[in-house]
Symmetry: D2
Subunit: 228 residues, 4 copies
Amino acid sequence: MVTVKTPIILVNFKTYIEGTGKNGVKLAKDAEKVNLETGVCFGVAPQYVDIPVIVQSVDIPVFAQHIDPMKPGSYTGHVLPEAVKEAGAAGTLINHSERRLKLADVDAVVARARELSLVSVVCTNNIAVSTSAAALQPDMIAVEPPELIGTGIPVSKAKPEIVTSTVESVRRINPKVVVLCGAGITDGEDVAAAIRLGTQGVLVASGIVKAKNPYKVMLEFAEAVTKR
Amino acid sequence: MVTVKTPIILVNFKTYIEGTGKNGVKLAKDAEKVNLETGVCFGVAPQYVDIPVIVQSVDIPVFAQHIDPMKPGSYTGHVLPEAVKEAGAAGTLINHSERRLKLADVDAVVARARELSLVSVVCTNNIAVSTSAAALQPDMIAVEPPELIGTGIPVSKAKPEIVTSTVESVRRINPKVVVLCGAGITDGEDVAAAIRLGTQGVLVASGIVKAKNPYKVMLEFAEAVTKR
Amino acid sequence: MVTVKTPIILVNFKTYIEGTGKNGVKLAKDAEKVNLETGVCFGVAPQYVDIPVIVQSVDIPVFAQHIDPMKPGSYTGHVLPEAVKEAGAAGTLINHSERRLKLADVDAVVARARELSLVSVVCTNNIAVSTSAAALQPDMIAVEPPELIGTGIPVSKAKPEIVTSTVESVRRINPKVVVLCGAGITDGEDVAAAIRLGTQGVLVASGIVKAKNPYKVMLEFAEAVTKR
Amino acid sequence: MVTVKTPIILVNFKTYIEGTGKNGVKLAKDAEKVNLETGVCFGVAPQYVDIPVIVQSVDIPVFAQHIDPMKPGSYTGHVLPEAVKEAGAAGTLINHSERRLKLADVDAVVARARELSLVSVVCTNNIAVSTSAAALQPDMIAVEPPELIGTGIPVSKAKPEIVTSTVESVRRINPKVVVLCGAGITDGEDVAAAIRLGTQGVLVASGIVKAKNPYKVMLEFAEAVTKR
């Protein structure tokens, strides 16, 4: 299986048309190309139905955007962790601001991911929630102030103290948890700032998926990571 | 594209392990085999991640178990109708008892399905809700008293009046809506009874997916439909 | 018990501070005053905790803003219809755009309201959903295009065809269902227009609750109803 | 305002008919009587509509069963913290197993309660979630394994290690957080065991509300607390 390494640039395809179906495969191939050229780890989080084809098309880790805490059974329409695993996913986003989970379910989903060796990336909205999430022992936490998502104003510039305090608070609970930051990241300088503030990578969506030339933006991001 | 015809036997794979990944492909191939042997239309509703492989493996209609009403955009973790369509789905279940939707969302999802030429199958729990759903002009309604789901006690026997009244009430609102019934269906006689009560098919899950020999059960179901 | 009559002006206090606690009691007394002066029926829908005091302060019908479908039991934090009834409510809003319910729950709540003789007012967002809701046999339907709520642009002017078509479609399903309209109503002319389009009243919130002089606005509304 | 002291016996009336309306007032008076006789702090958590009358009837702290994170505004059907406060509540349950909240909302509700000086009692289901909740700095945490709720099998006996580990983990995060335990508590011995395991009280529902003689059970509970 492909390995998830840090620093990591994790690209959330959301339900953007630019990341759906064939577009998603193209985007994942661009990410893989940048990974091969720079050695920086890229993860991609396409829609559920696009996971199997992307897994077969590229050699970079593929993430689900969400999984449900269920075990196999009568749960029509839910996202069974086992199905995502069998489809080849390496990990999953959990509790994204567009798909928030109940507290008890964040715990249950992190536990299910651990059980199936899926890398768990819990998204959080502030320092308190990041600390709270760290207590659930996920592999990674991605802090994204929701008010900055999709704005092009990077958290690393607008609210650097949220990033540094999150890193610090999460480390105090569990130093093994990888901290990423997201929201508003659009260029290499934003990525470099995130790394300087103590994160081990970024979670990014529109900045790459909706870019005119996603390959070029991803290359810039990767170079910002390696040059730090 | 494969056509959806009536009478139809629609098999919901839920999140049963027997219908996940490779197991799901095997099950879909069995359904296709029975379709080829009997001419009876079989539809299969696997999990999202299993849709693409199953679409490529068989020539029978594949349904999603749920779609969200969203248009392309920032909806991490949601099920975009366009993605399901591009993956090759012919239709979708909507509002299954294990994935109930808000009234306004049932309307929005049926409209989105129509927009993308996805066959819409709205699941309902009683006569009033079936009538209510019919007003939203879906292609099909599948009435399933939730208290019978998974029991092995078929609605066609336990509550035949729910089936006949649903057929009648739905027809009064819109005679073009196909009515299916579900819950507790395990053998050919249950299927025959459903057809006799005026439905144009059945929605079935554990009765087939968890059967020792799903092929045999599907064959029995198909024969019950043709012999009526 | 106070009677609910048509035409009715139903005032939703939402969670506006101007309609909370003592402010809510004052507002309800103003509504009662206009009712006494003009004979037009006013209903008020305050927050749950304010229902008992308002019921004891005025002689006009008091509505809950929402009830849950539960029967007495283990449902911490839910709104038991029996509790609302015992507190003196005459009816309840159901499925407001800010508190949408699952289709099966709209049905269950309407049934529970009927069981307890609470007047049921189902809120809807368009013609299809209004028709769908009518099939559930509520006492009233209040159609409110969500995009107009709180805008000051009245549905009766911006989208009169939604109002007339809703009235017509609902009548076809069940002529006994009272149809109200809402969203953007701020003056007497908006109310008069709503009545001319065939409704039997209006559902209004900020237009009254956030008015500088709610009494004056309510008087204007009542006169618009009587002068039609 | 009445003070919330520890040890505390917090009685959740749920939506039991035995705790609704006049029954709820009677129950609250019994709790007050035991408080006067023994000095042990009793809190009662009735339904929303019953809060004002109970606040006026007794001199013990009254809790809401849930509040929403909203600020005053357009949130029909939601439970505004300001309204609950103005009605006289001293605090609120948060995230009860029958009314689970999203992680970000638990944080927001705890913050809103703090802002309005409402005592916040976050309910949790296991050690990890209790630790996670402690990071949000609520006043109290009540750990209740959901599988024991309503069973009569007390957590203090069935899973004492959950109680002791929760106390320990919560203290490590924030020693000021009061820890209660709940689920299955029916007699004085269960209460005494909870206190011995390090909690500062219990959260109880059916054990008192559905008892033949709630006064007698509450007296037994209070004596178990004082005799420890």
